[in-house]
Symmetry: D2
Subunit: 338 residues, 4 copies
């Protein structure tokens, strides 16, 4: 049984997903693509045996041969495409952010709740990373007692030229925010942002940042974003419980001893660090979508992520702690983070 | 382009490979199976859309719909199946051992050399393991100088009931022997085996063993096999060079701190430890077989592995160092370990 | 040349210092002791060959046979004893806090500055810890670029019965505050305290805490204090620079592999963790005091530590960030943290 | 109570011990020195308050003011000095080797046994190293089951100009041999030596070596000596038990992340690696000698070390496994390794 997939948005990420679904993973086939740039969509389709290019995402979503949809278009258009998929009753994998405003996210949540079954999966791949899953498992098993704090660090070797400080919240820390909710099984209630002395290699952008997020239980999440740290791509995390802690272990294939030192490798960038997680994420999605459903982060998770980052951006500007006021949660999402 | 595969031998390992090719990896389809137990072959075929069960491996290999062959039958029958595949000019992936005697291995080497192109890939998955590849890369880059020794340890939590001491050489250390050749880019010339005090949990079998293998360059390989060590499945390795060393790093997803200790996980068994290596091994094979060829360990590598383990078994019995006299290497295999 | 030492305060810490100076380290002799409990002082003196018990610290400091003074009396009395030592022109090692109020600390700074030479050493042993010294060395050498953040964690297995949340600042985090100044070569300008959900094993005390300290350069220091974390005594630290980071390495003598895990030991409590640092601290002091001077943390460092913790206690109560306004620094202390 | 020590041999090691006893450790005073070069002895004595230079070791040992003796003279003369100390009934610390022949070692054992109490301590400092002690403790506690193998590696950055291959046994591996006996609580019965391809930086010397030592229990010890490995001084060890293993942990003060890698420091040479062990060794000796006795490695241990290295040298030359035939053990040494 092969899942027939339509991909809305054939930019860099879209093409990477198409490659993964076509060349790496079993069980799926890309049969349709669309892009704001139709020529690019046609070019991508031409390389795929039997794939068709559609002029709009809406056309693609409506197409009969499309069983399930991947949305990797421009962020501002996500909401419309996701809503169209829900309307069509088709499983949809949407890259983060699910939508850029709380209102749009909320509309998706309402639409899916009305539909009555999960169709939406949001692309937070960390939930499929073996390290974070082992961390979650340790917490759930009670290995460290109840969690009280989570220290997360999100470090990139360098940020793209157009990077703004707010993007450290909306594009970078959003992953830490989602995984914090997953690990702690908890919801955020407030967020504050500290901007220490800026890295002189950050081109005038406030970098690093320290984000403080208060959770409903009283647990405290700290997120360091350092997006111009030169040495590599490094994701660190430690959950502090009442009786112990659990940390992401250092990952290096080998240890070399030479010239007075032992050393191991740090990842270069996120595609390498999370390659296996992306595989697992899409495997889970293909399996769930083939049954008409979804796995991993839900529309509710997408909504909370946007609500938290919107408040985070406000907090960066105000210098104060900003509340994160979440709407009522539909019953569909009763267990958000398991 | 999908590769149509026939699988000879539908036992535990065969079924595991079928699962991997069908459910996990893109690019291949199992279209034919055979087994000494035809009923089992039919049962396995029935679960695969459109696969056919053949009464014999030879029939399967000859079948028109079969592009490439996987041999996971009983070890004694490997040679016949591999030779049949070469005769048919079809790419063949053969589980280790390629054959159980040097003569059979040599016949395969001759047949393939006469064919003029590599068709045979032997299932030494370590060559596709990210850790060993990083180790090899470090050596090739000159990070540790010329290699002088390689210390390998191969530890299993427990051995099966029918385990004999010779199997620690033919089934266990054979992997270390192949990877030693790969890492050092060198051939073995002699082998000796030491049997220290036996583990009382080994049921009377000589376990652990320490195998000493001399390489053509003068480098020395030590292989500890401990197949009843209870604590887990643990593969250790360190290459000692003239100016440094490179070791396999400890692999654990997380570190937990509790009750006065930090701790990480050791693997339970080989399917888990080498899961990603098996994926990479079959991906490489699918890619190479689709072009009519092979990747990874060659028939020559299969031959040397058998020559070395046959000498190793003799050394275990004699208590002396036994020579490993290799036949002339056909030009086809000029570069054995890249 | 043996340094003749008088010890003011023969409680638990005082006796421990006496033991170290008498039984472990070369170069010093305890010749005089005093204590608020004269009987105890006499008892301690009786065990030391040729030591005399004095009724007051002032008498001891004035005694002709006393070359140098150690103050380990009750914190409230430190200032008087340190000032008396300065007045007598004698080197004085004072346990932290140097004094409990900024005014008293300031008076000591003035007195020493008037004396014109350092006499005072404050007992921040971390500055003599091999790990922190290596961390400092890495920063000074430019291995990580200019420091932007320092994440410190100070974890105790359990807090004593009389522990109050403010003590997590004045007694616990004070060490992190001093070492932050040492590592970053920087002064604090403001401090804020966050109290997440309390550990249920903390007996109603707000624990853990997260302390945020802003430095003059703009660098940000985060200090987690978790003083009932059960698993052990664990001091973690990572300095984030513009191009890299430096962390305290995990310290365990051995790694044990058993029952599916590898594990190493976490320290039980601070006397064990910092045993070698205490040796080094007193060796440095004996050496410096023998020449009439002092090493390690100065009276200025003692003053800033108290100023910062006083502001920290205020911040814990106010919930706001509180400024740390430092007095003018006498020239004597021009290079505070080298 | 201060121990009055006489030091026989004021070369580099002798002076280093004098420094440690004088400047670092409490409880001892060097009151007498002697050296084959009397002028050097006088020079060293002149720097020590109240120390006297003696023309011979025998004169020094006989001197009334000498409570205990340290022998750091030329190896060939150790036996005479140790025997003289036993004759004088004075505790004696002797650098390894205790004596260079089995006959001399045996004479010392006989003399001490006749004296009836331990007076001799041999300078195998590893027995006082925190890491090896933790390893021993883990074994004794049964953490890994009964030991079956011990893999030891002894690596030096470079060997001195006069180094010969036999010294890798007598001067280098002798430490591994002693610690193997300590860890396994076992005696050697045979030894073999393998010389792989030589390191081209070893100046024509057979380096590295792999030494195989069979123990009475059947346990097997492997010792790699690599004395020109450039990268640093590195002592590795792992004991393989029936249910687990225990290894010396990597020791680095900090971990630095920069330029795509994390790294930690390897020791440069043995004085740094074993500095704390030397402190502990002499503290134990001072304490024991003050009571007229000895701690750590005994004369028996010194005897076995020489017997094993003599056989090892023979094995290097013969290429065969050579027996180590130990004399009868006097009752005095009934518990050798605790």
């Amino acid at each position: 049984m092969t899942l027939n997939i339509g991909v809305v948005g054939t930019g860099k990420i879209g093409q990477e997903h198409i490659r993964r679904l076509t060349e790496t993973l079993a069980g799926a086939r890309v049969v349709a693509v669309s892009d704001a740039d139709l020529a690019r969509a046609k070019e991508v389709a031409a390389k795929l045996a039997g794939a068709k290019a559609y002029p709009t995402g809406e056309d693609l979503i409506a197409a009969g041969e499309v069983d399930a949809v991947i949305v990797t278009s421009w962020g501002e258009t996500h909401a419309a495409h996701v809503l169209a998929a829900i309307k069509a009753g088709k499983p949809v994998f949407c890259e983060k952010p699910m939508a850029t405003t709380e209102a749009d996210c909320s509309a998706i949540v309402d639409a899916e709740a009305a539909f009555g079954r999960r169709l939406v999966q949001v692309g937070f791949m960390r939930r499929f990373d073996a390290q974070y899953r082992a961390m979650k498992e340790a917490i759930v098993k009670g290995a460290i007692g109840s969690p009280l704090m989570f220290h997360s660090a999100h470090r990139n070797a360098s940020a793209p030229a157009h990077f703004k400080a707010t993007m450290a919240i909306t594009d970078t820390a959003v992953h830490d925010i989602d995984i914090a909710r997953f690990l702690l099984d908890d919801e955020p209630v407030a967020i504050a942002v500290r901007a220490p002395r800026a890295n002189r290699h950050a081109g005038g952008v406030a970098d690093p940042l320290l984000i403080l997020m208060d959770m409903r239980s009283g647990a405290l999440v700290t997120i360091e974003t350092s997006v111009n740290i030169a040495y590599g791509y490094d994701i660190r995390g430690e959950v502090i419980g009442e009786t112990g802690t659990v940390s992401l272990a250092e990952q290096s294939d080998v240890v070399i001893k030479t010239k007075g030192a032992f050393s191991g490798r740090v990842f270069g960038d996120w595609p390498e660090r999370f390659d296996a997680a992306f595989d697992a994420e899409f495997r889970a999605w293909i399996g769930a979508a083939a049954k008409g459903g979804a796995a991993g982060s839900s529309a509710w998770d997408g909504y909370v992520a946007t609500a938290a980052t919107v408040a985070g951006v406000k907090a960066l500007e105000s210098g104060a702690s900003e509340p994160i006021k979440l709407r009522e949660q539909p019953k569909l999402y009763a267990r958000t983070s398991s």
